[in-house]
């Protein structure tokens, strides 16, 4: 009996945390997505006598009391139920269409390159190299950079008039296509090390016996990779892919700090659009609808991919 209660007691903080920071926002935003939310302040402004430290009225030279302003107010929030209107708006909003396209290009390009580069680097570092520990440490440093800071850092790097890459003549931030490439580059810079690190750990986890046995059967390095190493890596590759996919779809910080979604809306991701809709224009219901649509889409993609991959490799 006591054991059960103590267990419950120890679980409470976690339960409280999940309820407060996960379940409540989920339910709140779901509720908001079916409403049009407006606020206003109802106020009454009155003049009341100004009092001194003893509580006596402060008087003017002519004997009349000095007054102070007192505002009696109440903030009124109106939740107008609009059904599925906010979700319908998504399909007629050209900004959403642009943001979906931007997000899709970003996710496909960034995640693919990160995975590929991470894998290649892991293979490279999985052998004896002079100064390998130092190089490995340097390789993973970008992971520790705050994405917003990385965005500002790359703003100076991509600066076209005198920045370190200005000599290339590439309109890094002033051309719609190149601006998106710039965002992708920053993400690759930051997250390739993560892929590299996980793949390297997985590679080093493959028992030497496997490889030695394989070498007895064939001299072909390619065959060993294909038949022994890759199958061992697949579960890790799948996990890294799903993690990166879910993370990349939410891209926000770099966009906000590097391009603010521009030029035009050329780099405006769905997350950034949702943020601006909710916190720039205070269209909270519609912002919630966009966020939910994104959430559902990502969950669908991840679930389908996960099931598919499990069915193939399980």
């Amino acid at each position: 009996m006591w054991t059960g209660r103590i267990r419950l007691l120890f679980l409470m903080p976690a339960v409280f945390w999940v309820l407060l920071f996960t379940i409540f926002p989920l339910i709140y935003s779901l509720y908001a997505s079916f409403h049009n939310v407006t606020n206003e302040t109802v106020m009454e402004r009155v003049q009341v006598p100004r009092l001194d430290a003893e509580g006596n009225p402060v008087l003017r030279p002519d004997g009349t009391p000095r007054m102070r302003t007192q505002v009696n107010r109440e903030t009124v929030t109106d939740w107008e139920f609009v059904g599925l209107d906010n979700f319908r708006r998504i399909f007629n909003d050209p900004q959403v269409a642009e943001a979906v396209q931007v997000t899709a290009i970003f996710v496909v390009a960034a995640v693919a390159v990160e995975m590929l580069l991470g894998l290649l680097l892991a293979f490279l570092f999985n052998r004896e190299l002079p100064g390998r520990p130092v190089l490995r440490m340097l390789m993973i440093l970008p992971i520790f950079a705050t994405p917003v800071a990385a965005g500002y850092l790359f703003f100076t790097i991509f600066y076209e008039e005198g920045g370190p890459l200005g000599w290339t003549g590439i309109p890094w931030l002033s051309h719609p296509d190149w601006a998106l490439v710039s965002i992708i580059i920053v993400d690759i810079w930051q997250w390739t090390p993560f892929c590299f690190l996980v793949f390297l750990a997985a590679l080093q986890g493959i028992p030497d016996d496997f490889l030695e046995a394989a070498r007895l059967d064939t001299d072909s390095t390619l065959a060993i990779w294909r038949e022994v190493i890759l199958p061992q890596l697949v579960p890790v590759i799948v996990i890294v892919f799903l993690l990166r996919l879910a993370e990349a779809v939410k891209v926000f910080d770099v966009v906000a700090s590097l391009t603010v979604g521009g030029p035009g809306n050329a780099t405006q991701s769905l997350s950034y659009l949702s943020f601006r809709t909710g916190l720039r224009f205070f269209d909270v219901g519609y912002a919630s609808a966009i966020a939910y649509t994104l959430l559902i889409a990502v969950m669908l993609v991840v679930t389908v991919l996960y099931k598919r991959i499990r069915s193939v490799y399980a």
């Binding site: 606020n39 302040t41 106020m43 903030t75 900004q95 076209e160 931030l173 002033s174 051309h175 603010v260």
Partner: protein, 544 residues
């Protein structure tokens, strides 16, 4: 010396020095005046009649002792534009009132969000906010700010009033005749040009040979401006002999890039007429049914013009905000820039500018061709009409209805708005408070004396042209109507992103403005067409 004695001596010194230190910024003089000082690094000192501070203030009086005021401002740092003066005046105000002032700063791009998050959620964290005039539609609609008229009339607070403001600026500091904003900044865009280059006889002659007419200084029409920009573009006249650009613009999306277009399009899109009608002197929406006018052929022509002009500037300017474009111009790398009142004052700072004594200023030239909305055709005229503008934020303080210390918050804003302080702020340009009021303009149109500005380090011709240009701009017979209806931020954002798409080549001018008009219709329908129409009519003074 025994330890106890040393401690006692230190304590005595502290007691003796504390009042002196506490009285560092305010001195009540025997002749009925009071001397107010900023911290040394700001070099401001004002001696004024004591009664100018209002009846609440006097020797030994600290009317808001113990109160805590928080003010939200855009962040340019303690010595930067708009936020700098708050730091400069805080110590003297704290000493005068006994209250404490907390300065909350946020990047300009976040100011609207921070302001309205606080107001809409009813948090009331800020007692006062520095806002752009285009916030007013939302501020008034939500009942979020307090009128300042009663405070002004009470005589209890630092004395200032709206009278020195031209009607164009007064209009955006007030709503429906009621005062809400406390006098501070005056924004508008004028043309800046390199006076030395345009007046150079060699260039005059070469220009005439190339274009067949004498180069006018300053240009009178936008078409002349483009010709001059084209003439100079690429010539080795920039800093260190580099190529100079014809013009430089700040076009970054969501960083005030849209204002170039808004200002420029006036003379293309506003059909001249003696008064405002459904087709004359209107700019944003049809004042009868809220149909957007932003994609009128006049607006489209203006955007096409802007794209052509941008060809004579650095390609990177599409991603430049104000600071980058200004620096490019101040370093001597462009012939033209049209922007806010900060540019000429910054040009006087030789640590960052190479064009002191070379910067000319003029009201923005006008197009020689405009769209006649009634006749539905373009009209070319030799009598161009220059339209004034108060484009920008004219950043100033308002008092929150949700704060706990409205009187104290107002007293701080009012202190900064007093004539000597306001004049000082305009004279020294680092602070982002740009001139626009009678006492800031030079005699005979204003009250200021040339010496005031020369003492502040200005070049005589630079400041004379600059103040003249702003006086003409703010007092122009026809002004660009200022958009400040509910949702202005959203209308602006759509326009901004489409303009940016056009300037970066992703859309044609017509596509960009058609898309804008379509999105504006959706916004209007969502916010309520009838309510929006009423607000718009009130904002532009439409009388039917």
């Amino acid at each position: 010396m025994p330890k106890l004695l040393r401690l006692m001596l230190a304590a005595a010194c502290t007691v003796a020095l504390t009042p002196a230190l506490a009285q560092k910024y305010v001195t009540w003089n025997d002749d009925g005046t009071v001397t107010l000082r900023t911290p040394e690094e700001y070099e401001g000192e004002f001696t004024i009649a004591q009664e100018m501070l209002g009846a609440l203030f006097g020797p030994g009086e600290q009317p808001f002792a113990g109160e805590e005021v928080t003010i939200l401002s855009l962040d340019s740092g303690p010595k930067g534009g708009i936020s700098g003066p708050i730091y400069a005046f805080r110590p003297m105000w704290e000493e005068l009132t006994g209250a404490t002032l907390t300065i909350a700063l946020t990047p300009i791009s976040e100011l609207y969000t921070k302001t309205f998050l606080d107001l809409r959620n009813g948090t009331g964290e800020y007692d006062a906010m520095i806002v752009g005039a285009f916030f007013y539609g939302d501020l008034i609609n939500g009942n979020y700010i307090l009128s300042v008229d009663d405070w002004m009339e009470s005589g209890d607070f630092p004395q200032w009033n709206y009278n020195p403001m031209p009607a164009s600026l007064r209009n955006i500091y007030t709503w429906d005749g009621v005062g809400y904003g406390v006098l501070n900044d005056a924004d508008g865009q004028i043309l800046y040009y390199r006076r030395d280059l345009l007046n150079d006889p060699e260039h005059q002659q070469a220009f005439e040979e190339q274009f067949g007419y004498r180069m006018p200084v300053p240009p009178n029409t936008l078409q002349q401006l483009k010709d001059i920009a084209q003439y100079f573009d690429g010539k080795p006249l920039g800093a260190d002999g580099e190529s100079i650009s014809g013009a430089v613009l700040h076009l970054k999306v969501r960083e005030q890039g849209l204002y170039h277009f808004i200002t420029l399009a006036t003379s293309f899109a506003m059909t001249p007429g003696p008064e405002m009608t459904r087709t004359n002197n209107v700019y944003w929406f049809d004042p009868v049914d809220m149909t957007p006018l932003i994609n009128s052929p006049g607006h489209v022509a203006a955007l096409e013009y802007l794209k052509e002009l941008a060809q004579y500037g650095p390609a990177a300017q599409v991603s430049w905000s104000l600071g980058e474009a200004w620096d490019y111009f101040l370093r001597g790398n462009a012939v033209f820039n049209f922007s806010y009142g900060d540019v000429a004052p910054l040009a006087q700072d030789e640590t960052r500018s190479s064009i002191k004594g070379k910067i000319g200023s003029a009201i923005l030239p006008a197009s020689d061709t405009y769209w006649d909305m009634a006749q539905q055709e373009f009209v070319t005229t030799e009598e161009v009409r220059k339209v004034g503008n108060v484009t920008g934020g004219s950043w100033h303080g308002v008092v929150s209805a949700l704060g706990d210390a409205p009187d104290a918050a107002y007293s701080f804003l009012a202190l900064m708005a007093m004539k000597p302080m306001s004049k000082w702020l305009a004279t020294y340009g680092w602070n982002g408070v740009d001139p626009g009021y009678d006492y800031q303009f030079l005699e005979p149109v204003g009250e200021a004396k040339l010496e005031d500005y020369l003492q502040a380090g200005w070049d005589e011709q630079d400041v004379t042209e600059y103040l003249q240009a702003y006086h003409e701009n703010f007092n122009a017979p026809t002004m660009l109507p200022y958009l400040r209806i509910t949702g202005t931020q959203e209308y602006y954002d759509v326009l901004d992103s489409n303009l940016s798409a056009a300037m970066s080549g992703a859309k044609s001018a017509k596509e960009a403005l058609d898309d804008t008009a379509k999105a504006w219709e959706q916004i209007t329908d969502r916010l309520g067409r009838e309510e929006q129409l009423q607000a718009y009519q009130a904002a532009i003074g439409w009388e039917g």
